[in-house]
Structure formats: C-alpha cells, structure tokens
Symmetry: C2
Subunit: 343 residues, 2 copies
DNA sequence: TTGAAAGCGCTAACAC
DNA sequence: GTGTTAGCGCTTTCAA
C-alpha cells in the first residue's frame, strides 16, 4: 500500500508550511483567501484527508464518547441510544457503545483509571452491577453522566425521572380502578437495586396515602427487567392461589411477560387482572392488549445527558454535579381500562 | 492536571530503555525474567498505563471495529449487536456503533475514503440506503463485511440467510394451512429494496410450485419494516374489502403491527387471518398471539461476521469475498396454528 | 536480550 | 498571516 498523503505533502505542493495547511483544514481564522484557495486546491489534487489517529494524539482527545448500558436489546435502552447517537453526532462526536450485561467488573473497567481511558472523552453510563460506593471510586478526571438511579455525589451529573413519584402515580391509577389486591413485580432488595427500590417505595406510598395496608407477599422480586422474568414472576404469583387483581410491573417488558402468563392461564386482562408497566416502549403500543405505562421523556434524557457531558468535557473546571429530573407521564391503555369494543 | 506517567518514566525508574518496557507491557517474548520483574515493579509504583491514542498512531490501527445499522431500536439489530459486541470484545476489539436511519449519504460516509476512515480497522455494515453500485464505489482498502442482502462482488464478505428459500418456506406454511388468499406485506420494488424483493420472490415461488396464481394486489409495499408500517399496510388491505385469509410479513415487527390492526377490527388471528413474520425477535415469543416466524441463527451471523472481519483486518493479502449462508428455521406459533386451549 | 533513535502525522507555542 | 519546530507517547528498525 502506498504511503498516505500527509499534511506536509500538501504544504509542499501548495508552497506553504504545514502549520498553514493545518489552519486551513481545521477552518481556523487567520488565513488569507488566496492561501486558503491554494491549499484547498493542493488538498484536492492530492486527495488528502487528515489522520484522525494523529490528531487524537496531538490533541490528547479522541472525539468519542462512550455510552455504557447493561443490555442493548432492552428496547428502553435502544430507544434511548438512538437519541444519544443523534445528539452526539450533531456535536461532532462518535459514540462508542458497550453493554456490560450488568457485570460489575466490566462496568468498573469503564470508569476506572484504566488503559482504555483515553479512548473516550467522557462516558454516559447506566450502571447495574455497581453500587454507589463502587461508583465513587473512579477516575475523578473522567467526565461522567449517570442514567437511572444513582444519586449524584456532586462529581457527576445524574439524569433520570422521579421514580418514586412515577411509581406512586402508576399504583394510584390501579387503586383508582377499584382494585384492592395490587401486586408489584420487579423489586430488587439489594445494594445495586436502587431503581427498583424507589419504585417499591412509590408503590408503598400510594397505599399508605390512602390508608391501605400492603400485602408484603404481593411484592415479587425479579433478577432482570425482561419478559422471561416477568412471565415467571407472574406464574409464581398465580400458582399461590388468591391471585392479585392488579399488577404494577417495573418495566414494560416485565408487564408483557406477565400478561403473557395471565392470558396463557385463561385469565383476562384487565377484567381479571389489570397490568401497568414502566418505560413506554413501542411494544406496549401495539401489543394485545396495549399496555398502560409510565412514559419518561427519553428524548429529553438523551439530549440532556449529551449536553451535560459535552459541557463537562469542554470545561477545565468541572461544573457541579447536577440532579436532573426528566418529565414523565402516565399513559393509560387497554391493559388497565380495557378496550371500547373488541371481541 | 499533572503530567501522565509515560513509558519513558517507567524506563528511567527501572533503569532500562523504553523499548524494553514496551516489550514487557505488550507481553513480547524476549525479556529476561529479572528485567521483566523490575519493569513490572516500576509500572506499578508509578501507576503507569499505556496511552491508547499514542499506540494507535504508532501502529496505524485503532483497535476498533464499526458496526453500522440503519436502526438501533429494531430488535433484530439490537439482538444481533449484542452478539457482535461480545464476539468483538473477546478478540480485544471495541465496537463503535452507528445508525444511519437508512440515509444513503450517511452510509457512504462509513465506507468511503473519508477522514473517519482510520477510526476503525474494519466495518460490519447493514446497508439500507445504498444500492449495489454505490457499495462498489468505496475505499478498497477497508475490510468490510456486509449483513443483509447485497451480493458480494468478491471484495467483501456477505453474511445472511437464504431469503428466497426462507420466504418460500414461510409462504408454504400458510398454504399448507389451507389458506388461499395469501397476502405479502413488505415489498420494496426499488434499487435498495433487494432484501424485500428476495422475499417477494420466495413468496411467488411457493405459489407457482403449487400451480397457484398470485393476486398481485395482495402484495403490499412498506417503506420500513416496523410496527406502524405493518399496521398501516394491514389497514389498507382490510379497507379494500375481500380480505386475505393469511399474511406473510417481511419482519416480525410488521407482523405485530398487522396483528394489532386485525384485532382492532374485531377479526381473529389465526381463525380469520393467519399471520407469519420474519426474524424471530423476542417480542413474538411473548405477544398475544405468539408469532410464527422465520428464525435466522443470529449468533451464527454475528460471530461469523466478526470472525471474517478480523481475518480481513489481519491479512495483508485480502481473502476472497465469501457468500456465507446462516442457518434458519421455521418456527410455528399461535399466529398461524392457534392455541390448544385458551379462552 | 537490550539500547538508541527514527518515525507515526498532526497540533500549537513561539517567533517573525 | 505564516513559518519553524518541538512535542504528543508509543512502536519498531537497526545495531550492539
């Protein structure tokens, strides 16, 4: 393979210094129109294109941001990623994506002072395996934005919705329907299950606010927020007899899994059991029945996360870590109120 | 910020040359056990970690591969990406992901001799907006593996399933059920719609093989393979009167959209209209009804694509472009055969 | 087995 | 406004 055309080659042909060529290529100010044109012509004649790798080294930055999520095939994340990629691209950043499968070691590798560190100028991170303490122990120089539920310690931004309020709202919707035995599927009562615990808290608050007691055995845990776990949890619930008449699921996938089980058992949704989910993924808008849900403003989350991260990357004195609350709303569909007319 | 620890610092402390440190860090052979230890100690003492950016420049490679898909939130792609990332990681590669929204210009940017070229050592690419001709006009030095339907011109590998055979199989399944008015949703009769056209071809072959004629008006086009387009196409079909009794959808998402419409109209699946999809995404395994489908071996596709790409990246004389056929199978679920017992 | 030193191609401080 | 030049930190050829 023949040698690549370099800045110096262009400089030589144009009869200027490489410094000037660099200026032209990067669109810096101080260049005469005449020189610019000469350089431009040389660039085209030689088919020159800058070497990103060299530029990265010289600038000490990579022009990439990493987005780290536990699972790529979770619609909530893939929908979010779409918006993140678009937002990043607008600002000239490439997006390096990785999924961690919730593995703590792997997650640590992204925020630690490791050898991959220079590969990205900042990280948008949705932790699953790492608890709050592990998060604190990271490369302090790494611009970081956290998604999901890990309260900021002031050194990074945190973007998410108000999980407690949203969960309370979802539960209240079920109670408003006149349901009395409301179950919750998705609790994770351990250090890394903060998001789940906040939802459980909202679930509780909805009850206590109305003076209702909670049947603790109706709070079911799941390892993941996916369809299979939702289906399994629901099966457990039904196997016990004395089934609930409504279920608050901690994600739409869990809800879809739960609905699958309910229907397979010959029960009806919502007549026998009303179901509400969380996330508002597209699936729930086309499923049968369609799924009532809490809808976080994903576009807001994505653009805000990118915006804050770029701000961090750009500033020499790191801005204070913010708690950013995305808007959310309750969306009522068939899985709680049924359909007007359908067989 | 204090200066980073460099190779030279380590060399100085260990009393060796930077060359030796490099050897140790990279695990190269020729180093005495004693020197290795001394260097190792110095590395730890100083907290040295190599600078990827510098290494990239020196080696002229980035250690990254790009995976370019039209839409990230399409479950088929996100499921595939999962496996690709895992496979790439095992070989020490990072994965840069981008979505093109099917935009031809954007897609071209990835395979052209552009300035981003050096950012990745190779590309796994699922084109949507680019036709065969545009594909041929690319940086010939770029290691490339194509997913989906773009026959290889010998300069890249192509991984996909036998779309014609699979589509024929899906259609035959519907005909086997005794259905006579079978519709097809998803045709794309233009240059970039090759995948769709192959499926239409399989659809036709199934009919002609049995001496059945095809109602051309039952072949419906869609711009994308997603739920909304599937729902819309089905609505069009039903609005015309004389509805089909079975539908072959070119993706599971299209099928889910179509089913949504059918049920909303008060018709039953499969009693009134049987539906089969394509891709075998998780949604179809939990939906109501569950969706019969063509299941490509995604794991095979992902690992094969990565394997071939790394082979290309590693060899100075590019290997011949291969046509690689992944296994697939027909999966029968409720949307075509109904359920044994459910209300 | 190890050392010296020449790049890799670009950026940017400094001089003119 | 433009040129000179010293890095950026690592890899790797060549010589010892």
């Amino acid at each position: 393979m023949r040698r690549e055309v370099t800045l110096r080659d262009v400089a030589e042909l144009a009869g200027v210094s490489s410094r000037t060529v660099s200026n032209v290529v990067n669109g810096y100010a101080n260049v005469t129109e005449r020189t610019r044109e000469r350089v431009q012509r040389a660039v085209e004649e030689l088919g020159y294109r800058p070497n990103v790798l060299a530029r990265n080294l010289a600038q000490g930055r990579s022009g990439q941001i990493a987005v780290v999520v536990p699972y790529l095939d979770t619609p909530y994340f893939s929908e979010l990623l779409q918006s993140v990629i678009r937002a990043a691209r607008i600002s000239g950043y490439n997006v390096l994506i990785d999924q961690t499968d919730g593995d703590a070691e792997h997650e640590r590798g992204f925020i630690a002072h490791g050898s991959r560190r220079l590969l990205f100028d900042g990280v948008i991170f949705s932790p699953l395996g790492l608890d709050q303490r592990a998060l604190a122990d990271r490369d302090p120089a790494l611009p970081l934005v956290i998604l999901g539920e890990r309260a900021s310690d002031g050194s990074f931004d945190h973007v998410g919705i108000d999980d407690v309020a949203a969960s309370r709202q979802a539960t209240e919707h079920l109670l408003d329907l006149g349901r009395h035995r409301v179950a919750a599927i998705g609790d994770q009562p351990y250090a890394t299950g903060e998001a789940a615990q906040l939802r459980t808290q909202g679930f509780r608050e909805a009850h206590t606010a109305r003076g209702l007691s909670i049947r603790e055995d109706l709070i079911i845990g799941t390892a993941r927020f996916n369809r299979p776990d939702g289906a399994r949890a629901m099966a457990d619930l039904l196997d016990r007899g004395d089934p609930p008449d409504a279920v608050f699921c901690y994600s739409d996938l869990v809800a879809l899994g739960a609905i699958h089980t309910i229907l397979a058992r010959g029960l009806r949704v919502p007549e026998d059991i009303a179901v509400i989910g969380y996330d508002d993924i597209e699936d729930g808008r086309y499923s049968n029945p369609t799924v009532s849900t809490i809808s976080p403003d994903k576009e807001w989350i994505a653009t805000t996360a990118v915006e804050r991260l770029l701000l961090r990357i750009g500033s020499s004195t790191p801005p204070p870590g913010l708690e950013l609350r995305a808007p959310h709303k309750l969306i009522v569909r068939e899985s709680t109120t049924g359909r007007a007319s359908r067989p």
